[in-house]
């Protein structure tokens, strides 16, 4: 928990003095209250030349091939060990862009707030947004705030969209995957999902599991810089987990994938928590994790490079692309048996016993 406390402490940017404690419907009206809310420090906190123009849209200069991505974030609880919905929203879109081989530059930030959200919590989220942007090196250049009636939302929903130019050496496409490619995972699986579970109402088990939310753009771009077109595909296994993403790739690009359970890096606490709840870690959500399909010849060098990076110190090769069994993902279990990996049919629900 100490790590978690540290992060929360960091977020204690001085809160603006306000004459309201909670967000009300009026704060989304577009009128006086909206301005009061935004002028209370939101613009100051996220300030940059483009945002400071305070126009309806942002004026950007982009050159060359550009990636564009959007994502909405609904997480409950909005504060969890290792982060909050604010940094999740920044990191999520930053990472989606990075997976395209892009250098994320500009983000939009929109909130749908449920009436009654304490301003203190809104502020904590904003501060987390600011720090995440700083770390990733991106700017919030436009945004929006709406407020919905109590009961019509779940505290706060955040949407971010972002753009960034594609790195000239990036040749990321599922079409480039070839037989023999190694599949590298950048770190431990299932941490984010289990961190959320550990604080979910009704479950709340004692643990120090932290979400792995972080921005991966610097890590990815340096890999691309170094290994160029040997990086065939990048993907972040968020919802649905590693299993679902790999199965999707196998199916859409008609390749076969062999995985080895014994090679999956996983934190002990996360493994125990999954066991306890009857959840398969392969299907649990991740945030600061990516999978890379890398040409066989360069796989070891990529791995070594990753090990030097904070975001890749636990990286491992977990599988291989094979010609046999196209469209199928087959995992060799820890004891040497084989099982087919399929997609999650719905939400993964804890088992009864």
């Amino acid at each position: 928990m100490s790590e978690n406390k540290k992060i929360r402490m960091q977020l204690q940017c001085p809160m603006p003095k306000l004459d309201f404690d909670v967000i009300t419907l009026g704060h989304g009206s577009g009128g006086v209250l909206t301005n009061k809310l935004l002028d209370s420090g939101v613009f100051d906190l996220l300030s940059n030349d483009i945002l400071d123009e305070r126009h309806d849209g942002a004026f950007l200069e982009l050159h060359g091939k550009t990636a564009f991505s959007t994502d909405s974030f609904l997480v409950s609880p909005i504060f969890f060990p290792g982060g909050n919905i604010g940094e999740l929203a920044v990191n999520g879109t930053v990472n989606d862009l990075a997976m395209c081989g892009a250098n994320p530059k500009y983000l939009s930030l929109s909130f749908i707030i449920e009436e009654g959200l304490p301003v203190k919590e809104f502020w904590d989220i904003l501060v987390a947004v600011k720090f995440a942007c700083q770390k990733a090196g991106v700017q919030i250049v436009t945004g929006d705030t709406k407020v919905v009636e109590k009961g019509k939302g779940d505290k706060i929903f955040v949407n971010t969209s972002g753009v960034g130019p594609i790195h000239p050496k990036a040749k990321i496409s599922a079409k480039n995957i070839a037989v023999g490619d190694k599949i590298i995972i950048s770190g431990n699986v299932a941490s984010h999902g289990m961190a959320i579970m550990s604080v979910r109402e009704g479950l709340e088990f004692d643990s120090e599991i932290q979400s792995d939310t972080t921005n991966l753009n610097h890590t990815i771009l340096s890999l691309i810089e170094q290994f160029g077109e040997n990086i065939h595909l990048l993907t972040d296994p968020t919802r649905g987990g590693v299993a679902t993403v790999l199965k999707e790739i196998a199916q859409s690009s008609e390749i076969g994938i062999d995985l080895f359970q014994k090679d999956f890096p996983m934190d002990e606490q996360v493994a125990s928590a999954c066991e306890l709840l009857g959840l398969d870690p392969l299907y649990v959500a991740n945030e600061g994790l990516f999978l890379a399909f890398v040409s066989e010849s360069e796989a070891d060098s990529v791995l070594a490079t990753l090990h030097e990076d904070e975001n890749g110190k636990n990286a491992r090769i977990i599988g291989t692309v094979v010609a046999e069994h196209p469209k199928q993902v087959i995992m060799e279990s820890a004891i040497g048996g084989k099982r087919v990996i399929s997609m999650l049919p719905g939400e993964q629900l804890p088992r009864i016993c």
């Binding site: 009704g202 125990s272 629900l349 804890p350």
Partner: protein, 364 residues
């Protein structure tokens, strides 16, 4: 974790497999009673690793799967029509009732909540004094102590708006029913380790003696299951029929007397309907008269007509081990985890779903 990895050691697994191969001289059919073991078998690819002479048969061991259709309809009715806060364990929510599942009821606006402990439901009742809270209490003997405790707890604290819709199933009578079924030919059983943690092994001795079958109380890790299988085969090869305890690191002969006491305080044994199988004598728990106020069946006295099961679904035969999931004409065609026709395709513990997910028979 070390604890877990010890029971997943590939070298030891190989040794057990070798020993199984060396021991088995003719075909044997072994039933793992518990869904957790089915899961472990398929998830770890054990079935394919076993010699051809050993056939594993997946028993009725998923309490979610065998919860009667009618009771699910009742739960849905309570949530939708009576407006109660209906709480249950996660995997119960997806099981189809005759009209809809609890998950669908939730999507339509009913207050259905996924909980991990029935005590949490009592707390919800205390926090919502103007609402009725019903906990759909499903499970084997394993979950019974906690469910019973919630009733005792609510009673002590004077919580009047809490009750449980009980659908407990008991393992030993199910084993007996499976053996009694003329069509099922099972030579030995792996009994569910976690059930015995609570109830002990004593109930299995008369069964094993009367029917001359080996019963090995077994855990859930891949090595547990392999060792359990080996122990059953050894007995069979030596014409023995005893109760053995593979899971001795957790299970004591007498079980957990405290847990048994709270079960006995709240529940009495009754005949129980098992979905897909039918009524099994003395195979379930009913809430005792003393706690009738906490018994949702009595409190709401809902009568809902028994709906017919999908006629194409052969789940009864699956759960008694007479047929394998892929012998069902609907398996993987009309019946998939996203659209289950019968209960064993719903819960991840269910035999059909376990096969669907892990064996790859229906994969593209």
């Amino acid at each position: 974790m070390k604890y877990m990895s010890e029971y997943r050691d590939p070298e030891l697994a190989k040794k057990y497999l070798e020993e199984i191969k060396n021991t088995v001289s003719r075909p044997w059919s072994i039933m793992e009673v518990c869904g957790g073991q089915t899961h472990s078998l398929v998830k770890n690819g054990i079935i394919e690793m076993l010699p051809d002479k050993v056939t594993m048969i997946h028993g009725p061991g998923c309490p979610v799967c065998v919860t009667p259709l009618n009771l699910i309809d009742k739960a849905v009715y309570l949530a939708v029509e009576k407006g109660v806060i209906l709480c249950s364990f996660g995997d119960m929510l997806r099981v189809p009732g005759s009209q809809k599942s609890l998950l669908e009821a939730k999507a339509e606006g009913a207050d259905v909540r996924i909980l991990y402990s029935p005590l949490e439901a009592v707390k919800i009742a205390e926090d919502n004094p103007h609402k009725e809270v019903v906990f759909f209490a499903v499970g084997f003997e394993t979950t019974a102590p906690a469910n019973a405790l919630s009733v005792v707890h609510a009673h002590r604290r004077g919580v009047k708006n809490y009750s449980i819709l009980a659908s407990h199933v008991l393992v030993p009578p199910a084993i007996k029913a499976v053996i009694d079924d003329e069509e099922s030919k099972i030579d030995g059983f792996l009994a569910a380790g976690h059930v015995c943690t609570i109830m002990g092994n004593t109930e299995y001795h008369p069964l094993s003696a009367a029917y001359k079958v080996p019963i090995v109380v077994t855990g859930f890790e891949p090595l547990d299951v392999l060792q359990g299988i080996l122990m059953v085969i050894r007995q069979l090869e030596q014409s023995k029929s005893e109760v053995e305890n593979q899971y001795a690191r957790i299970v004591r002969e007498e079980g957990n007397p405290d847990a048994q006491k709270v079960i006995d305080e709240v529940f009495e044994v009754r005949n129980q309907m098992w979905r897909g199988i039918g009524e099994i004598p003395e195979s379930g728990y009913a809430v005792r008269e003393k706690y009738a106020d906490f018994d949702a069946t009595k409190k709401y006295n809902v009568t809902i007509e028994e709906a017919p099961e999908n006629p194409d679904c052969i789940s009864g035969q699956i759960m008694k081990g007479i047929k394998k999931p892929f012998e069902c004409s609907q398996f993987g065609k009309t019946c998939k985890p996203t659209n289950p026709l019968g209960a064993p395709m719903v819960s991840s513990e269910g035999a059909c779903a376990a096969y669907y997910h892990f064996s790859g028979l229906v994969e593209a």
